[in-house]
Amino acid sequence: MNNGAKGKNGIKVSDKEIMELIQSGDEKAFTELVTRYQDRLLNFVGRIVTDQETAEELIQETFLRIFNQKNSYAPEYAVSTWIYTIALNLARSELRKRKLRRFLSLDFLKEESDFEIPDKTNVAGEGMAPILQKAIDSLPEDYKRAFILCDVQRLPYQQIAEILRVPVGTVKSRINRARAMLRDKLKPYKEIYYELSRGIPQIISIH
């Protein structure tokens, strides 16, 4: 991934070098790490918790933990794997809290709002992207994480396996299943997501 961003002198500094600088107390290196990862983490955490404000809070907490536990980083793993793992743990914790709140407020008695097929006429106005995002949101959590890491974050299978702490075979199976589920959910919009796949940019926002 973006392990070769340029430093202040135009020299490419890898993530591991940045971590070494942070460990030695370089505050500017930490700022560089935040700048490098803030949007990537938002595109991961934001699509899991589907709420930008909460996602930003979780990402801020991720960076706080990175700073406080900078000496516990093991160089044999990629920095991005370590960062994604911390962010994922926080996102999981947030989802557990939501589940508990939902249980305590007895909202679970209401019917789960699964992916609903919107009217095709609205799709033309709003674009396909919100529908695709909604379809991704409706995936089971394990499949959703694997799909986002693979198709949105574009991480390799091996790294996804390390982040999710499952075997590579399980990752492959989850991604294949997630794509098949999305295909089934989006069947009525086949022509439109074909359009989307041809590279027409779609604006999407999470609530």
Binding site: Q38, D39, L42, L64, V152, I175, L196, S197
Partner: protein, 187 residues
């Protein structure tokens, strides 16, 4: 390779994560199987659509907020660390002082305990019979006597010999007749 095998490997095929032999087998199947070819096209469209989703961006000033939060957390940790250091010092000082007082003054002397023997045991110390008895020199008048019965009792100053008939487990209070019978038997 059959359709099921291909369907299972379609994602790995798209992501270029198959060994050359298996990839070739999948390609061979896709050349003549229309449903699998259609599924591949749909998968590719989903993947491309997901990759074309406009990326989300953090709100303005996010990086500054993170740096500020880190600095604030660091200050809090430093204060807590200093407080913990002081508290541990105070704890050590308290323990040392307590130990010094203990060794200087010594351990507190044990409370005097009252050795209460049972009534049964105290009877054993009495001379003569181990059972409860009235001592020969005990005056009858020493028994607590209600006033209204006093007239029936023995005259004062008269000695009463020790006898089993006077055991308190049989009589609470000797009557006049008991005493008289006892005296007649003896004399």
């Amino acid at each position: 390779m059959n359709c099921r095998g291909v369907s299972r490997r379609l994602s790995a095929f798209i992501d270029n994560d198959l060994s050359p032999g298996i990839r070739e087998a999948v390609e061979e199947h896709l050349r003549h199987c229309v449903p699998c070819k259609r599924q591949l096209t749909e998968f590719e469209a989903i993947v491309t659509a997901a990759q074309n989703l406009a990326p989300l961006s953090v709100s303005g000033g996010f990086c500054e907020r993170v740096i500020k939060a880190v600095n604030s957390r660091q200050e809090t940790l430093e204060v807590l660390s200093a407080l913990r250091y002081r508290l541990s010092l105070a704890g050590v000082a308290f323990m040392v002082t307590s130990a010094a007082i203990f060794f200087l003054i010594g351990p507190p002397s044990p409370e005097p305990t009252m050795n209460i023997s049972t009534t049964q045991d105290s009877y054993k110390n009495l001379p003569g019979n181990t059972d409860f008895y009235i001592h020969p020199e005990t005056r009858i008048s020493s028994f607590p006597v209600p006033e209204r019965t006093q007239g029936n009792l023995l005259v004062e100053e008269e000695l009463v010999p020790a006898d089993s008939s006077f055991r308190t487990d049989e009589f609470i209070l000797p009557t006049m007749e008991n005493v008289r019978e006892s005296v007649n038997d003896k004399f």
